[in-house]
């Protein structure tokens, strides 16, 4: 088990290194960084001065090593637009994105599992067909369109929910949360649905397919032959066996949820990292873009690792096979 985690951790470091190279390369391909810092009429000598002070005249590997070592310490340089450390900017925006992603994921899991179980058990019922249709819509409509439709319905026509922003937030240490105020919670509803809808339909489809699959297995037949109640069979035996794929999807998708929050945050003007990234792209603010890339990669990698560990909690077979690799 421990060896397995170590092995996975090394793979994770490999992935992060690769992303590090890409984000480092961004600086070099996006033109001369010195140009971003000095003004147009700065004399060449002064430019050289800046270049040397930033270490940009060192060999590329040395620069990369320096870049990585500061990235490990959480330093990603200074934003060209804001003239503030990128790490501060990201830290300030992170709670908004994480809270949004969390709510979207909870929404996706809650409704996805419920609807999936229902349509797996009663696949010919009217409601199951409604769910199938909804899931088709959820998968085929682009996120921004769903967001705009929701805003149109609930903000413009009904006036129930705010169309943009986070509402009021409460500061706890460096974290700002929208969970503690009514306006903050209300502001979370539509962005969470928008962001989580795709995942919800995905989870629903997977749970449904897995339920149908599991209900055909021998151990379910045997459980019925043992006279267990329908409830114990469906929710004790069948549902638990659908959890492994659900964990996979939820886990792997959580990274995408954070990554795709860019679109939702733009639609709802949600003050998170995604919105920061979009602004950075518009202003060619390479340090922010590079740092965001590294951060998203880190989140992906950490989640993958967590998912691998979770599997072994759910499925005892993996525990032994990992302990004693064949």
């Amino acid at each position: 088990m421990f060896a397995f985690i170590i092995r996975r951790a090394f793979q994770a470091i490999g992935v992060l290194l690769a992303v590090g190279i890409i984000s480092f390369a961004m600086f070099r391909f996006a033109g001369d960084p010195v140009n971003q810092i000095v003004s147009l009429d700065t004399p060449a000598a002064e430019r050289e001065q800046v270049r040397r002070s930033l270490g940009l005249d060192d060999p590329v590997p040395v620069q990369f090593a320096r870049y990585l070592s500061s990235a490990v310490r959480g330093e990603f340089g200074v934003s060209y637009q804001f003239r503030q450390p990128v790490s501060d900017l990201l830290a300030e925006r992170m709670p908004a994105t994480l809270e949004l992603a969390l709510c979207a994921t909870l929404f996706a899991i809650g409704f996805g599992v419920l609807m999936g179980v229902y349509s797996g058990l009663k696949r010919d019922s009217f409601l199951a067909k409604v769910f199938q249709t909804v899931s088709l819509i959820g998968i085929s409509l682009p996120t921004f369109l769903i967001g705009i439709l929701l805003i149109y319905l609930f903000s413009v026509i009904l006036g129930w929910l705010p169309s943009y922003g986070r509402g009021d937030t409460v500061r706890i240490g460096w974290w700002t949360t929208g969970f503690l105020t009514t306006s903050g919670l209300k502001a979370l509803i539509m962005p969470s649905i928008t962001l989580g809808l795709f995942q919800m339909t995905l989870i629903m489809r997977i749970v449904r397919a897995e339920m149908l699959e599991v209900l055909r297995t021998d151990y379910i037949k045997f459980a019925r032959a043992r006279g267990l109640t329908t409830r114990a069979i469906h929710f004790g035996h069948a549902l638990k066996n659908t959890l492994v794929p659900v964990i996979t999807i939820v886990g792997l998708q959580f990274g995408s949820v954070i990554a795709f929050a860019i679109i939702t945050e733009t639609v709802f003007q949600w003050p998170g990292m995604g919105l920061l990234f979009v602004q950075a792209v518009q202003n060619v603010d390479i340090p922010i873009m590079a740092a965001y890339l590294m951060l998203v990669a880190l989140i992906f990698v950490v989640i993958n690792l967590a998912v691998d560990i979770l599997y072994t909690v759910v499925d005892p077979r993996l525990r032994t096979s990992i302990r004693q690799p064949a």
Partner: protein, 330 residues
């Protein structure tokens, strides 16, 4: 004669498919008495498993019981409401399937699966149920049951897992056990042990056993009576010694002439040329007529009904006096 534990009367099971109604079981009757082992043999697709599923009430749509009666110790069970039938399953009828590797839920400990079954059918407390579970494991021959009970299914070998499955089927001391090819998926070396265990348990508890198997050797050793199935019907049924040594039905003759060796793991134990017709293409008259070496005109038009012939019951026109007469006349 005392009342049989299981009595199946003219049972019919159909599957409604797009290509029409398939008669998987077409009018079979048999009894199993207390402590008796009925062996059921026949080629793959003969309807052995469907018969077992019908008895335990697990025929799912598109299948349905289309006729006949199933009586358990005199009580009709084929028309029970689902919830009452559920209470019969596991409590009064235990079932053992072919593959112990897939019969157990991989995500639950053996103890959890045993305790849940015991507590479904009795009102034992959790700790009493656990104690009973340990006793059951000991009874089916699992060494060090107090320690092994908390293992997961994958931590047992195939033979041990089938013992766990048997323990699960025994949880509520059922009157009847249906064992559907309980050793087919197992190593040859453990097959005999499992069969011996089943036989011993049946004897000790007076359980009636319906033992479906491909292995004529097992039948000869274990069963009291044997039913030979073909295309959803019972071709011949009778005391095991008679049927094995002196089969009457031409299909049974073919089967007994070809008792397979232990190494052959094929589904077909028959060396009779041809194969069993598909359900959608069962010929009129005797379903065996295209393959029967003794076929005569009547076989192609009239379905043979089971006829008592000494201790056997055989569905073949050869043993019908009227047909002998008609042949004599012809």
């Amino acid at each position: 004669m005392t009342q049989p534990v299981l009595s199946v009367r003219d049972l019919r099971v159909e599957f409604v498919t797009r290509r029409g109604i398939l008669k998987a079981i077409d009018g079979i009757s048999f009894d199993i008495g207390k402590g008796e082992v009925l062996g059921v043999v026949g080629e793959s697709g003969a309807g052995k498993s469907v018969t077992g599923s019908a008895v335990i009430g697990l025929i799912d749509p598109p299948g349905r019981i289309a006729g006949g009666e199933i009586l358990l110790s005199g009580m009709r069970i084929d028309n029970l409401p689902p919830e009452e039938m559920r209470r019969v399953r596991g409590k009064r009828i235990g079932m053992i399937f072919q593959d112990p590797l897939t019969s157990l839920n991989p995500l639950y400990r053996v103890s959890e699966q045993l305790v849940e079954t015991i507590r479904t059918h009795t009102n034992l407390s959790a700790s009493a149920a656990r104690k009973r579970a340990i006793d059951l494991l000991a009874e089916v021959g699992i060494p060090a049951p107090e320690r092994r009970i908390d293992s997961y299914p994958h931590e047992f070998s195939g033979g041990m897992r089938q013992r766990v499955v048997i323990a699960l089927a025994l949880c509520a001391e059922p009157e009847l056990i249906i064992a559907d090819e309980p050793t087919t998926a197992l190593d040859v070396s453990v097959q005999a042990q499992i069969i011996a265990l089943l036989k011993k348990l049946g004897r000790e508890h007076g359980t009636a056993i319906m033992l479906v198997t491909h292995d004529m050797g097992v039948i000869a050793e274990t069963a009291d009576r044997v039913a030979v199935m073909y295309a959803g019907r019972i071709a011949e049924i009778g005391p095991v010694r008679d049927v094995v040594q002196n089969p009457l039905h031409p299909y049974a003759k073919g089967l007994m002439g070809a008792i397979p060796s232990l190494e052959s793991d094929t589904d077909r134990l028959v060396q009779i040329p041809g194969s069993m017709p598909r359900l959608s293409a069962i010929p009129p008259g005797c379903p065996f007529n295209p393959r029967c070496p003794y076929v005569f005109d009547r076989c192609r038009v009239e379905r043979p009904e089971p006829i008592q012939h000494s201790e056997h019951r055989v569905a073949c026109h050869l043993y019908d006096q009227s047909s002998v007469r008609s042949e004599a006349v012809a």
